[in-house]
Structures are given as C-alpha cells and as structure tokens.
C-alpha cells in the first residue's frame, strides 16, 4: 500500500447519541459560521503562502501551521456534520478528535507545480465532487430562454451521511460501512485542501485504502476480485467508449431477459425459500458480465470482455456464492429494502465517470492506469455488483455500504475477515 503524507486518523467507536444526531444540522451552525470566518483569513493566508513558497521553494512554518490547523478544523467539522464522528468538535482544530488528520511539516516543493497548483488541482476536484458531493451551476435552454439552474451532485459522503442519520437515530450506532464512506470523502477532501494550500506537494490519492489507512477484509456472498497490472493499451483506450457499443447493446438485450428472470426468481424464492439453481446461474452470469463491461468502459481493467459473463474469464471477476436459504420476508420486500443501498449506489456510481474520464487521459499518455483511480473505480463496481446481486435475489446479505478490500489488488496488510452483518 502506498502512503500519503496527509493521513486520516480514525479513532471513532461508532457509538452515537440520538439527540445530537437528530439535531446535527442545527448544532453544526456555529461551526459553520466559524469555519466561514476562518476560511476568509485562510484564503488570504493561502495566497501569501503561495507567493512565499514560490519564492522560497518551501512553505513558511507559521503560515503552514495556520493553514494546517484550518484543514484539520474543516475535517473535524465535516466529520461531525456527516456523522463520521460524534463528539462536538473543538473550535481550534486541535488534535485528538475521533476523525482527525495528520499533516506533515513543511517540505521543499517544486516551484513549477506550486505556480500551477490551481490548474493541477482540477482533476482532483472532479473526484472530490463525486466522493464528497459538490454544487454546480448550469443553464436550462429548453424552456423559456436561458434559465439558470442549481444542481447538487450527490457524493458518497453526502449519501452516506443521509443514510447514517437514520441508522444512528434508530440504533444509536453508526454503521461501519457508512462511517468509512463518509471518512473516505472527508479524508480525500483534507488531502485536496492540503495540496491546494501548499501544505504538501503530494497529489491527492483517492484510493480508499490510502485515504483510510487500510480497509476491512470481508467474505460476502458476492465479492469482487481483481487481478490487474495497470497496463493499458493506448489504442483500445482511445476507442474505449466506441469499442463498448456492442457490449451496451448486448447488455440491453440480455437485460430484457434478466428482467423477467428476476421476477421469476423472486416468485420462486418466495415459494421455495431459496433461488432455483438455473435462475441463480443465469442471473449470476449477467451480474458478472455487467461488472466486466463496467470495468472495461471505466478503464478499471484492460482487456476486451467476452459476451457470456463466464466465470474466471476477466481480470475483474465477480464471485457469487451458491444459492442459499433466504428469509422470505426480506425476499418479499426486497425492492423496498434495497432503496437505501440504491441511493448510496447512485453516489458510488457517479464516481465511475471521473475515474473513466481522468483514467482515459492518464492511460492514453502513460499507457498505465493510475493505481488510485483504478482502486477508486473498483469500489464503485464492487458496490453496484452487490446491489444488483441483492436485487436479483442471488443473496439476502445486504450490500456492504463502505469501501472494503478487493482481493487481488495491491493493498495494505492482511486483516482477518469481518463477520457478516445484516447491514454494512
């Protein structure tokens, strides 16, 4: 696992107080005001730091300290707001908060990357928008003339916080997966601000294993395995979207059959208490094929996938456990139960766009997919695969709601598998 100098330190025990969770949006207002006021000063300090670093080749210690404090404070506030931590944060960005960030001391920096920092940060901003969520402005032309519109791209952290609010109020405990989803976005945001404020010269790394400093190893009934050397063929990268056209058509045609097969599987599982082997096999093949195509299009994997969804045929593989007995209640209400996972799935899915776009440019230039992008995208494919597997009734294990270790990908030290929770 590669390390990043801006490190998220999580000591949160997942327990939450219902009262403070319920009023979290209101409780955070003083912090928001303080963050905004501090932000104005931080902006001026950042400009001064930019000039000083450009001249001296290193960030002056007082400015570095001040801006680092601000980044730490912002991380605390967002961790609190998004329910990744429970205690009310201190107003000084001091150490010891359950979701904290460590920022290294000033280091020599390349003046060229300092000069163009505002431009260099743009790709990271695209990813941050998907991981955290970001406001965007647009214009609707199709109605009466030009009409400004305001959109809010749902990010993983926002979606996880929304779901986490209900979970925490109901159980007095935040889900591990949701907390890690929030922490992933918040941690990446901290790296981004640290890079932008010249607190580090290291580019933000979106790999959840790097951001969170290790991921849980899980043994879910539907898991994603990946064996990929990051090499990409420039020719197939350039034409990647067009090469996937036949797959899109095939996916759509096969999808029509899957729709009816899923209904039949629902009825059969409701009656028998377990999915019939034939339907399970058919839907599993489609699930695998879907993952192959997504991985190919978003450059998470290199080779052109086959059209049959055969097991063991692709570097990004889906392993589906054999049909097992399922709780009939969860089968009957599957479409309702899946809604929260689906909401988070929309956020996880939105990560694939910046991954594919940025990965396209990077692979075309270097002939290699950046590890951080590949490892970010693979979490998205893993999550959507588990959601669809749950919808198709291939398992009644709820999709794991946070990032987790993908077997086969380079990562941190091995950890023992976690027990299977009903909800991540």
């Amino acid at each position: 696992m590669s390390d990043h100098p801006v490190r998220l330190v999580i000591s949160d025990d997942l327990s939450r107080k219902r009262l403070t969770v319920f009023f979290r949006l209101i409780l955070v207002i003083p912090h928001y005001l303080w963050l905004a006021a501090w932000g104005v000063v931080a902006l001026l300090a950042a400009i001064a730091n930019w000039i000083a670093t450009l001249v001296a080749g290193r960030s002056p210690a007082p400015l570095h300290r001040f801006l680092a404090r601000y980044v730490k404070y912002a991380t605390h506030v967002y961790a609190y707001l998004y329910l990744a931590a429970d205690p009310y944060p201190p107003f000084d960005g001091g150490p010891g908060y359950p979701v904290d960030v460590e920022i290294p001391p000033p280091e020599p920096q390349n003046r060229l990357t300092v000069a163009f920092r505002l431009i260099l940060v743009i790709p990271a901003l695209l990813l941050a928008a998907a991981l955290l969520g970001a406001p965007s402005f647009g214009s609707n032309r199709w109605r009466s003339g030009d009409e400004a519109s305001f959109n809010f791209g749902i990010g993983i952290a926002h979606a996880a916080a929304f779901l986490g609010w209900f979970v925490s109020v109901a159980r007095r405990r935040m889900s591990h997966g949701l907390r890690d989803s929030v922490a992933w976005g918040v941690g990446y945001g901290a790296q981004l601000w640290a890079y932008l404020f010249l607190l580090t010269s290291r580019y933000p790394d979106s790999d959840p294993e790097v951001v969170l400093g290790g991921l849980p190893v899980r043994s879910d009934p539907i898991i994603l395995e990946a064996e990929d050397d990051l090499r990409r063929s420039r020719l197939t990268v350039f034409f990647r979207l067009l090469l996937a056209f036949p797959h899109f058509v095939w996916l759509m045609l096969w999808g029509v059959l899957v729709f009816f097969a899923a209904i039949a599987n629902w009825a059969a599982t409701l009656v028998q208490g377990r999915p019939p082997v034939g339907l399970h096999r058919f839907l599993s093949a489609y699930l695998r094929y879907q993952a192959h195509v997504y991985a190919f299009v978003s450059l998470i994997a290199n080779p052109f996938p086959g059209f049959a969804g055969s097991s063991g045929s692709y570097p990004v593989e889906v392993a589906v456990a054999a049909p097992a007995r399922q709780n009939r209640w969860t089968v009957g209400f599957r479409l309702v139960l899946v809604l929260p996972a689906w909401l988070l799935g929309a956020a996880y899915g939105s990560v694939l766009w910046p991954v594919a776009l940025l990965g396209w440019f990077a692979s075309l230039v270097t002939g290699k997919m950046p590890r951080s992008l590949r490892n970010t995208g693979v979490q998205s494919v893993r999550y959507s695969t588990q959601v669809y597997g749950y919808v198709y009734l291939l398992t009644d294990a709820y999709p794991y709601l946070g990032p987790c270790r993908i077997p086969g990908l380079s990562g941190g030290p091995e950890q023992p598998p976690e027990a299977l929770p009903v909800a991540g």
Partner: protein
C-alpha cells in the same frame, strides 16, 4: 471417381456462374428505352467558363483527396492484416469476441489514418462555401459515426465467425444470403435512423408529390424534410425504406428559396422514381450477387490463418473484403449511375418538364459546385450519378423521343 467429382464440381460452378449472370441481367433491366442515344451536350452552352474552371478545381481536389484516402485505407489494412493479430492479447473475450475486437480495431486504425483526409475535405468545402461545418464538429461526428460502424462490424463478424465455426470451409454459402437478408432489414429500418425529419409542410409541394407518386405508380408515398442546413448548404434528396417504410427525404437546403416549386417537383419525382423502380431492393440484390464471390474469396484467403473461425484471420478478412470493395468500385458506381438515369427518366415521364429538369441540373451543379464534365478516371471511380452534361442530354433525348413528336 475423382475426375467425375471434379467434372461435377465444374458443372456446378458453371451453373452457378450462369445463374449469377442471369440474376445480374434481371437486375440491370431498365425502363429507359434500350439504345437511347444521348445527344452531345456542350457544357459551355450552359455554364460560364469561370464556373467550369472553379468546379473542376473543386472536384479535382476532392477526387485526389478521396483517392489518397483509398490508397491509405488499403495500405493501413494491409499492415493491419500482417500485424493486427498481435492485438489479440488485449482481449479476454474468447474466439468470436476477440475476432469482433480485432474487426473494430481495424476500423479504428483506418479512422485514425483517414482523419487528415476528412479534415482536408472539410477545409476545401468550407473554403468554397459548400459546407460551414466546424472542424471539431466534423471530427466528433465522424468519431461517433465510427460507433455505428463498430456495431455493424461486430454483428457481421459474430455471424461470419459463428458460421465459420459451425460450417468450417463452407461458411460463406450461408453467410452471403444471411448478410443480404441483414442488408434488407437495414434498408427496411433505415428511415428510423435518419434524424431531424418532419413531414413536408408546404401544401403546394405536398400536392405535387402526391400527384407524381400516383403517376409513377407509388401512391401514398410519404415525403419528409430533413433539417441539415445548420451544417450543409448543398441541396440533396434521397429515397429510403422498402414497402411500408418507403419515404422520400428532401433536405431543407432544397427548400430554402433557391429552387422553385417545379424544380422541387422534379427532384421529388426523381426520388419517387427510385421507389417506383425498386432500386433499393435491387441494391440488396446487387449486394447479394457481390457477397457470394466476395465471401468465398475471403474464406479462401483466410485459410492461411486457420479460417475465419479463428480471430487471427479477422485482419486478413478485413483487408480482403475492403480491397474487393475498392476493386469493384467502378462496377458499383456503374450500377448507381444506371439507376439514377432510370430515376431521371421516370421523373421526366411523371412531370413532363424537360426544361425545368435542365434548369434544375444547372442549378444543382452551381450550388454544389459539381463539375459538369469530370475527368474519366474520377467518373469511373467515384461518380454515382451521371454527369450534369449526361443528365441534360437525357432531358433532350426525352424531348426528342418519337412519342413526344
């Protein structure tokens, strides 16, 4: 026994050739009177010297551009036929899937090599105010157009390779009629792939279209207008579909005021002529006649790579097929000109407006900068319509026919 078998195979081949020739003869039939002599037309009578010079220079550049693009296409595909199989390592898709990938990548490489020629053509047309499409828009349009070509090649290769796997050396016997059937289906559905169309709104033009459709024996044929004027200034029209999907499509550049009602009527009648004489169906027939020997030759040429069932044979098949298409290009343009002449004749029969048709052809030449009398090599290779001089001559021949006196 072996000698007897050979004789039998020879006889079968002869019978097949005879059948092929008979079918070609049937498809070549035309309602234009046999032995119609076209009078000589001096283009200087109709066009100014400066226009003839301009249109000749315009056409020469585009012809040369097209010729160079064709040569590049062949060279690129020849290199791809030799080395394309190395790209098999980029696939995890099994035999047929890998073949599909190699087919698509072949077209991708060709597209990359032809980008300069496409841009040169856009530059030349913009310079002569024939098109005002931007370079970026043209490049994007051609890039995404490649997507539909990828779909087509994927389907064709999946079918051909699947057949080659099942029928081994004789796959082409099944593939040729199957591809012809697919072409028929695509002709039938083509109307649904044409964007930005709406019904002909001008009541007078719509009434004329109804009259001509009735006169040409295709009553009720719908006439649509396609919006292309945002990127193109040249006027054009086409006939699409078969049976219930048959339509005449007029580009909105034809209706922008540069052409009068009677001229638009001639264009409409011409397109109705294509429908009346079943030219779209006949095209599929010609395609079937081409596909039989072409696929047989592809099957023969790919044997060296283990036959078309193997993905490494796909680059060779691609090269062979495209080379055959280029070699037979003069025959395709000949067939096309033959059909266009029949459509012109049909329009004259329906409208009885030879003078209007002459005026229209003159106007079409001036608005599209079409060279009225192109060089022979360009005519043989690329002219899918008779020259403007020939079309004007046809109107004079129609006027001079015995029944008109």
């Amino acid at each position: 026994m072996r000698g007897g078998g050979r004789a039998l195979a020879g006889l079968a081949l002869l019978a097949a050739i005879a059948l092929w020739a008979l079918a070609a003869h049937e498809l070549w039939r035309s309602s234009v009177p046999a032995g119609l002599a076209l009078p000589h037309v001096d283009v200087h009578q109709f066009f100014s010297t400066s226009f003839l010079h301009r249109s000749s220079s315009f056409g020469s550049f585009l012809d040369l551009d097209r010729l160079l693009a064709s040569v590049t296409l062949l060279v690129v595909l020849a290199v791809y036929a030799r080395h394309g199989h190395t790209l098999m390592r980029e696939s995890a898709a099994g035999r047929i899937g890998t073949g599909v990938l190699l087919g698509m990548l072949g077209f991708a490489v060709v597209w990359l090599a032809q980008v300069p020629f496409g841009l040169a053509a856009v530059w030349w047309e913009r310079r002569h105010h024939i098109s005002h499409q931007g370079y970026g828009a043209s490049l994007l349009e051609s890039f995404f157009g490649l997507g539909s070509r990828f779909l087509f090649i994927a389907l064709a290769l999946a079918v051909a390779m699947g057949l080659a796997r099942a029928l081994r050396r004789w796959w082409w016997l099944a593939a040729a009629p199957l591809f012809a059937a697919l072409a028929l289906l695509s002709t039938f559905l083509s109307i649904y792939l044409i964007p930005s169309t709406h019904p002909l709104r001008d009541p007078a033009l719509a009434a004329d279209a109804r009259t001509f459709a009735a006169r040409e024996g295709v009553p009720g044929t719908q006439v649509l207008v396609q919006r292309v004027s945002r990127s193109i200034t040249a006027p054009n029209a086409e006939a699409v579909g078969i049976g219930p999907t048959r339509r005449v499509i007029l580009w909105d550049t034809l209706l922008d005021g540069r052409f009068g009602r009677r001229e638009i009527g001639v264009v409409t009648a011409h397109e109705l002529g294509h429908i009346a004489h079943g030219h779209l169906l006949r095209r599929v027939g010609w395609l079937a006649l081409f596909l039989l020997p072409a696929t047989a030759l592809v099957a023969l040429l790919t044997r060296g790579r283990g036959g078309l069932a193997r993905p490494e044979a796909v680059p060779v098949a691609l090269f062979a097929f495209v080379a055959l298409q280029l070699l037979t290009l003069p025959l395709w343009t000949l067939v096309s000109r033959h059909e266009e002449t029949e459509a012109d004749w049909s329009a004259l029969q329906a409208t009885h407006e030879p003078a209007t048709a002459r005026g229209l052809f003159e106007r079409l030449a001036t608005t599209s900068l079409a060279n009225p009398d192109p060089p022979a090599w360009s005519y043989v290779l690329y002219a899918n319509h008779p020259t403007i001089a020939q079309r004007i001559a046809l109107t004079e021949a129609w006027q001079a026919r015995p029944s008109a006196r």
